[in-house]
């Protein structure tokens, strides 16, 4: 197990390094450059050159990358002149809020999607299955900005029970000071996720219910409830673990559209605004954070898999 973990961490590290290289290159090869973006249209060529020299942007790319990595290892993600704060600080401010939003919506999605998917599998090709399938496809096919707008119109205009904007403020505590403001963004995010998860749970449960071991379980005279809950559910939920692992990066990156729509001060908004303003240090910093989250997410999913599926666990450690 330990060897497996070390190997996987090694792979993860390689991936992260590659991501920083790619992100670094793309951002630096973009036209315009950081100096113009920072100093504005009025800056003279001398000012630009001075800025570039000061920042080290006139040195060879390799050297720049080396310096970047060196700083990265010290926890220095750079400094955003546009926000006038360090990248780390900017992320530290937004990340917890994004995580709150993502976790809440994911939790909601999982809690609702699993029973829905199971219900569909048990009642497959009957009306509950058809109804949920139809709704899922509808939710799946609706663009999220449209869904969000409809939510705002419905629940804060037509039937004004919820605020159309997310709570503002600098800390997580301030978010929770106005919980009603979290409802719409969370629900908007969750609806699409529920649709996806329910489809996965449904097909995975149907596959498992057709397995021979389920017939064996029935031959023991078990109740249908026990057959489903004790024998099938666990095996049927494996794909959800993969999905959750894939979702982990979103926990960090935030939901760009939803955050913009509800004016939610999270990572998505940060990235979006930085992209508009060519705020390279922020873009690079966020990219690195997300890439680490992606790699770690995949690793966590694998480890979780191994924890719940004995076949995987033993394959990992036996040889």
């Amino acid at each position: 197990m330990a060897r497996y973990l070390i190997a996987r961490l090694g792979q993860a590290l390689i991936v992260i390094v590659l991501v920083t290289v790619i992100a670094f290159l793309i951002l630096h090869l973009l036209p315009g450059g950081a100096a113009r973006a920072t100093l504005g249209k009025e800056a003279t060529l001398e000012q630009l050159a001075a800025f570039n020299h000061e920042m080290g942007y006139d040195r060879p790319l390799i050297q720049q990358y080396g310096m970047y990595v060196q700083r990265l290892l010290q926890g220095d993600l750079g400094y955003s002149y546009q926000l006038n704060q360090s990248v780390l600080e900017a992320i530290e401010q937004r990340l917890p809020k994004t995580m709150v939003l993502s976790l809440l919506s994911t939790l909601l999605a999982v809690v609702l999607a699993i029973p829905l998917g199971v219900l569909q599998a048990i009642r497959r090709n009957r009306w509950p299955d058809y109804a949920i399938t139809a709704l899922s496809l509808l939710a799946y096919a609706t663009p999220i900005f449209f869904l969000g707008l409809m939510m705002i119109i419905l629940f804060s205009q037509v039937w004004p029970i919820l605020p159309p904007e997310a709570p503002q403020g600098f800390t997580v505590a301030e978010l929770f000071a106005d919980p009603a403001g979290l409802v719409l963004p969370t629900a908007t995010l969750a609806i699409v996720t529920i649709a996806i998860y329910a489809r996965y749970v449904r097909s995975s449960m149907i596959d498992n219910l057709n397995e021979n071991y389920v017939r064996t379980a029935r031959s023991k005279g078990l109740s249908e409830r026990r057959v489903v809950l004790r024998h099938t559910l666990r095996n049927g939920l494996f794909p959800v673990i993969t999905l959750l692992g894939m979702y982990l990066p979103a926990l960090f990156s935030g939901a760009l559209v939803v955050e913009s729509l509800f004016n939610f001060p999270g990572m998505g908004q940060l990235f979006w605004q930085a992209a508009l303003k060519r705020d390279f240090p922020i873009l690079l910093g966020v990219t690195v954070i997300i890439s680490i989250a992606t790699v770690v997410g995949a690793l966590v999913a694998d480890l979780l898999y191994a924890a719940v599926d004995p076949r995987v666990r033993l394959r990992g450690s036996a040889t």
């Binding site: 190997a7 397995e211 064996t216 031959s219 023991k220 005279g221 004790r230 599926d309 076949r311 033993l314």
Partner: protein, 725 residues
Amino acid sequence: MSESIGLTARHSASVNAAAGQPLLELRELDTDIALRRGTVHALDGISLDVAPGQTLGVVGESGSGKTMTALSIMGLLPSGGRVTGGQILFEGRDLRSLPTDEVRRIRGVRMGMVFQDPLTSLNPTIRIGAQVAEPLRVHKRVGRAEARDRAIEILRRVGMPRPERIVDNYPHELSGGMRQRVAIAMALVCSPSLLIADEPTTALDVTTQRQILELIDDLREEFGMAVILVTHDLGVIAGRADRVAVMYAGRVVETAATEQLFQAPRHRYTEALMRALPESAIRDSGGHDRLISIPGLPPDLSGPLTGCRFAARCSYVSDECRTTDPSLTPGAHQHACLNPVPTPAVAATGPVPAQVQPAAEPTQVEPAAKPARVEPAAEPVTAAAPELTESPVLSVRNLVKNYPVHGRGLLRRAAGQVSAVADVSFEVRPGETFGLVGESGCGKSTVGRLSVGLERPSAGQIVLDGTDLTDLTGRERRRMHRQVQLMFQDSYAAMNPRMRVDAILAEPLEIQKVGDSSARQERIATLLDQVGLSRRALERYPHEFSGGQLQRIGLARSLALHPRLIVGDEPVSALDVSIQAQVLNLMRDLQRELGLAYIFISHDLSVVDYMADRIGVMYLGKLVEIGPAREVVRAARHPYTQALVDAVPSITPNRAATRDGTTIRGELPSALDPPTGCRFRTRCPRAADICTTEPPLVGGLHQVACHLPLRPEPAGTPTPVEAVG
């Protein structure tokens, strides 16, 4: 376990059956399965009964309804399946009219079922102990600790080594045979009065099969259970059941006491099924006579059927058969045949006049089948004789194949190697069939793949027509390998489902750039004729064919490039007996016509015995015995060969149910770390100190790799021409 105890128990059980109530009685059971394309009437008026302590064998080919009968009893029909009529009387009560919860309880406590595939029948993520004890916990409210103890106890009873450790294992950590023991333990944990075993050993090797069947027998005696043994294998039934019901196309066509059924079958289908077995051909003629195959396919059960359902395939069919729906005759030996097999004792059981009249007709039909048997009978003798003079098509020398096993780490360092084939040498001569038998994991398929060049050997030589392939470059080697073609067990899986048959057959010709397009068309037409398929097959896709037809297409594809040798890897193992006979006959016909040589790889000794001129027996990567087929099977020299021979279920009365003889116990050792010396010594009843050194393969025509062979090579055999390393 002596024979006599088994017989008395069985005998007293049948007496009970006659006197007392049957434990389970099916009355006119109908089962439908609704599919998208229509409703299949899977069972039509099934009436059967089984008494306590009795074993009822239900035998039939795929689609006959034998499994549906079992699943109907258990209430485990697949989705869309429904019992639509009749009664299932269990201990006098009709399960169909009882409330669901009550039926579920009966199913869990009073009945147990063992399924075919032990690899998929256990929940992969629940520990063995919890799975075995679950019925106790649910139905008897037994506490956790006690349930664990009871699980250990029952696992020990079914012959599981170290049960107190096994309870904490997961299914994937056990072999197939061990998992089937777990399944049996699970079915028996509540001491049911009825055990239904649906093909319990079909997925297992013969030696394991024997252990499992004996176990079920012993447990039946010990618990006084009734057993319903469902199988396609007549041999399995012959040795174990008190009564047998033969099913065909959703009906019971014949039922009788086992001995009576096998000695004097009455229904023409039962008779044909028995005669289609390779062992029947060998027993009756002592040679490689053509098998009596049953032409055609079983009827489609989704449409309305009139008359006898076997009529379309029956050689004794009369006009009456096509119009009259035969019902089972009354009495102890029931059959539903209008033109039954006449028996000497017919006057005692059946209405005489009804039998005499139709009996005249079969004699007229008989000649149609007879010549097919007689004509080729002389041929095999000439085919087998000239072997020694000709130079071999294929010569395999000291063949070794190891598969590296990788570690999990980043660099995947080799952590060891599986010794799949270890120093195997043999020759195949033109027109000869060389049979390769052994149990799963013995390396026989690897030898096949190496021979056709799908894989490269780790060491050793493969000499094709005098050319050593190991010396050749890749391109030349591939050209040479045209002469050796492979025939697969699952032809459907071996064909691209999106290619039509014409494309499938043309592909090898195109790849090897043989002829132009019209020449290829001509060649394909010839191939179809040779394998007995109509031209219309060309425009169809693989899924439109039955298993037997697919095997014919597979054979046609192997023949496309005029090979001299065809390697058949379990070519008939997935087929029903009647279809198997068709394919085996075809293979023999083509061999005669085209002078083909075969390497016939199979786990089924009786099929290899029928097909092969010479047989090689493999165990754990080693060739342990090689010699003329008849000698290897009837005068085995290696203890392992003898154990294999003894384990093959047979319908021949004196061979069935022999429980002494060489029985091997235990599990196949890992090929990752094979035993030193003789690889069989860990399971050999005769193992001695000398067996720690590796025995060489020695002898003349009949060679054996054993220090303590069961019998010397018969005198008068020629001395070895060359020493085999």
